[in-house]
Symmetry: C2
Subunit: 545 residues, 2 copies
């Protein structure tokens, strides 16, 4: 909150901009006085919300800016602006190159606002060189008249008229039908699409916005017509069912579960720094939390005549509508006991955070298997089969398994390791970011922690000295039911940092309800596929002098 620091009279890390556009706004009682110009009603409604979200100082600063902007608009005639292409806008992504953004067809140079942005400089820079709308869509605080007014102060141009057109997809590209994505996502692979949100946005909210939820696709996104869609349910000892989406909605009670999904490869980047691995180079964002809604798999299985507790070890195999060039679908399985347990909370989900499943997340139906690795949460479900064997799919049999550091591609025997189901305890620091220069004073460290199998997070320890000494973080959120703690825990620590502290190595480690802990270092858990990367998360920052 740089703005707040400025208001409090502390040293600003960037030179104070000259007035009027470059003045450091100061909050004053005057801006709260009666007799405000038209629009004050809007501000009046917004103020409590803003105050809650951003702190009161930021609201006051916003109000002051708004007043000055209104004065400027009244005084000056509407200017003519130069025209720019999106590509030209895209060249302005950092303060040295100026920071440009678009809104509608307008182009703005917001360089001087970056450090004043109440949500933090890092957040506004996510939109640098592109459109603001996808980010504003995530943060309702921007949907207020004074925000647009404020923005107009920074207008420098307009988009060329030909920029409205979207380029046509290449013919014959199996990925041509993939849906549009949020520009804030960090793309690890375009085809198939794999992307994660920027770490600084990851733990801002308990529920990850659908647009920012990490996407892990193995194949092109299938185009599914919800009207004609059917789910097949079958297996020995049961009736074969074919269910439409409407039948799934109307015949089975809707069940809602807040659950975190994590890719087995989350934090693989830490592992590939030790030794190269095969796989997408996920940072800490291949994890997210949503409120999922759908039919319980248990209800569907019992409806199909399968029992509560069959003899022997059974599995529920999922098949997706996404298929490779040979027609082989993505597939995975989970133990039958997990699928049928009333406490297992496994869903055939058609909703994500109150909306229909987005196409990238399995529209119209996906498996949500709380506490279990993302790979088993099969998207675009076409078939659910009860079986005495695990899914024969490549992804069940020959991928998503853990091995010792000594196993390489010459010696690996995939049959020797169990398929990953429940994931181990995990945590990561989302703030500050590696390499950041933090001011001396009170340092805020934030992050997430989660464990598989419904094991809640009972403690997060944070070190500022590489693990030599520890503090206990404050855990946010409500207590979850033991054994069904499917969602992550966001955490925060405030700690004093002395000027002259130099480099800090910030470390976090979580403890789950079975008192499992994270390993200290990466090398001893290194594995050739770079999965299960859950060593202590370490972030090095420097303290400004």
């Amino acid at each position: 909150m740089l703005l707040l620091r400025a208001v409090a009279g502390r040293r600003l890390p960037v030179p104070l901009p000259p007035p009027p556009r470059r003045s450091c706004p100061r909050a004053g009682a005057a801006s709260l006085a009666p007799g405000s110009p038209p629009g004050a009603g809007g501000r009046g409604r917004a103020a409590p919300v803003l105050a809650a979200l951003l702190g009161l100082g930021a609201v006051l600063a916003y109000g002051e800016r708004r007043r000055r902007a209104a004065q400027a608009t009244q005084a000056a005639p509407a200017p003519r602006y130069p025209l720019y292409t999106r590509e030209e806008v895209g060249r302005h992504r950092s303060p040295p190159d100026r920071v440009w953004v678009t809104h509608g067809t307008e182009v703005f140079d917001v360089t001087d606002f970056v450090e004043l942005h109440p949500g933090g400089a890092d957040k506004i820079l996510l939109a640098a060189g592109g459109a603001l709308e996808p980010f504003w869509a995530l943060y309702a605080v921007h949907h207020q008249p004074h925000v647009l007014e404020l923005l107009r102060e920074y207008k420098v141009g307009e988009l060329s008229p030909e920029e409205a057109a979207v380029p046509a997809p290449a013919a014959g590209d199996p990925f041509a039908g993939d849906p549009p994505r949020h520009p804030g996502l960090r793309v690890n692979s375009q085809k198939p699409f794999n992307a994660e949100p920027p770490p600084e946005l990851l733990a801002e909210r308990f529920l990850t916005p659908n647009e920012l939820f990490f996407t892990r696709n193995h194949l092109p996104v299938p185009a599914v017509d919800a009207e004609t869609y059917r789910l097949r349910v079958e297996g020995p000892g049961g009736r074969e069912l074919s269910l439409s989406l409407e039948e799934l909605r109307s015949r089975f009670p809707k069940h809602e579960v807040t659950a975190t999904l994590q890719c087995a490869g989350n934090r693989r980047a830490d592992m590939s720094r030790v030794r190269p691995v095969k796989g997408l180079d996920w940072d800490i964002g291949a994890i997210g939390t949503a409120r999922w809604g759908g039919a319980r798999l248990r209800d569907v299985l019992l409806h199909a005549g399968f029992g509560e507790r069959p003899e022997g070890e059974w599995h529920v195999c999922f098949e997706g509508l996404d298929a490779d060039v040979g027609g082989a679908p993505y597939g995975a399985s989970i133990p039958y006991g997990k699928a049928v347990s009333p406490e297992g909370d496994v869903l055939l989900a058609y909703e994500m955070n109150g909306a229909a499943l987005p196409r990238d997340h399995g529209f119209p139906l996906r498996a949500v298997v709380p506490g279990v690795v993302g790979a088993r949460n099969v998207k675009w479900l076409r078939r659910v089969a009860v079986s005495p064997a695990e899914s024969p799919s490549h992804w069940q049999q020959s991928d998503y398994k853990g091995f010792a550091p000594c196993v390489d591609w010459d010696t690996v025997d995939y049959s020797a390791a169990p398929a990953i189901q429940e994931l181990p305890v995990q945590s990561a620091i989302t703030q500050p970011r590696p390499g950041a220069a933090v001011p001396p004073g009170e340092l805020t460290v934030k992050g997430y922690a989660w464990s598989g199998g419904g094991r809640g997070v009972v403690r997060v320890d944070v070190s500022l000295d590489g693990g030599r000494s520890w503090r206990v973080a404050r855990l946010a959120g409500e207590r979850q039911e033991p054994g069904r703690a499917w969602a992550w825990t966001l955490w925060e620590l405030q700690a004093p940092v002395a000027a002259g502290a130099g480099e800090l190595e910030i470390v976090c480690k979580a403890v789950d309800s079975s008192y499992n802990v994270q390993p200290d270092t990466v090398a001893p858990i290194w594995n050739l596929r770079g999965v299960l990367s859950n060593a202590w998360h370490r972030v090095r920052v420097s303290v400004r002098p």
Copy 2:
């Protein structure tokens, strides 16, 4: 297997003893030839068993010794022997002081047999200075005529006649009624009695012999009359039951579960080496595995009218007959869901490895809660109560919880941490022992691994270089049902060790079915009570030149 190495013609680590008593026996085809002296039938039956247990070489060596002993007995008249007290025998516990043992009323100097002992020198030394019988009782291989014959070669004396008497207990001592214990146990506290088996015996067998099973008593052992014993079962919404042992046996099906119990303080010694902690200084032996038999707690709860899935969070509280001077009993509780789940396998156990529960292990009835810390497996059960709250007992509320390393006795808040239930993944090296001098060649490393919550052990990694490189150990035993893998996994690794390797730091770490791993080091998991000590186990040995 020093004997086998000698037979194979390798260098013996001790000087070859002179004949006849000091000859290094060599196995030969002759000892297997027909026409053996009387007693060969016994050997014939024993040979396959011995071969399986000790390897064929050892059997051949035994046979050869046996033949020579028989010749010696025929030749010499029975000598008169000096008399010794037990205290005098007890002064001979190591080769420099000579190694004496007793059997019945006879005293033997087995110093020269120590390195020839087929089970290993370390094993026979456990009995040094005392009686052989308690150890022979654990290893049926000794119950053969030729073993006694072999022993008689080493006779040096007899026990004084007055040595039969056992000292009377002190009057007024609340522990005076405690049962006799196996002399092989390593006692951490005599009153209350807390003891663990020698590490070198710990992983010799999948099922830990009752006599060697670690004993963790908080209070004196209650004297219970099985005839008048009653268990009270009660709680809101259920019928109050009072059950005799006979009723528990006859009214409910007997259920058997093979489960490992581990004390929360197992391996505390590793933690107290980092910084002092409060608690008994357990080495690696506060863990053991038994086949438990009894009524399922689930069956008893349902019989008492409690439901399968009550609304809200309920608990099952256990109270023991062991009480402190103020009359407060030992107590603990477990989540109701665990108690009532058919897959939870919680027992009201009256049998341990096929025998009635020994007094030290809860006679006549104890809770066995597979996958859960030993402290909740309440012994000498007097009351089982369903309750909306956890047990109010000191041991539930203000002990057996985990804290961060920064929490000390001035700042600890026991209400801030959850009671330990499921334990995290654990492993330890039982062979070789710290400080051992191992011969160059093939090194055998053995140990145990276990995890709480029914999570089976899927891999054990072993390093001989302090964790820089790893090998994968061979896991013994049958695969356990996923989610109900209550028993430990014994493991073994053979690895070549070069002469001149100097010091080795042997390390083990286990991976459980949720791919949880052990932390690298102790300091970051240090806690003021020294519980949950599950960092990599490290054993330093030297390689003989």
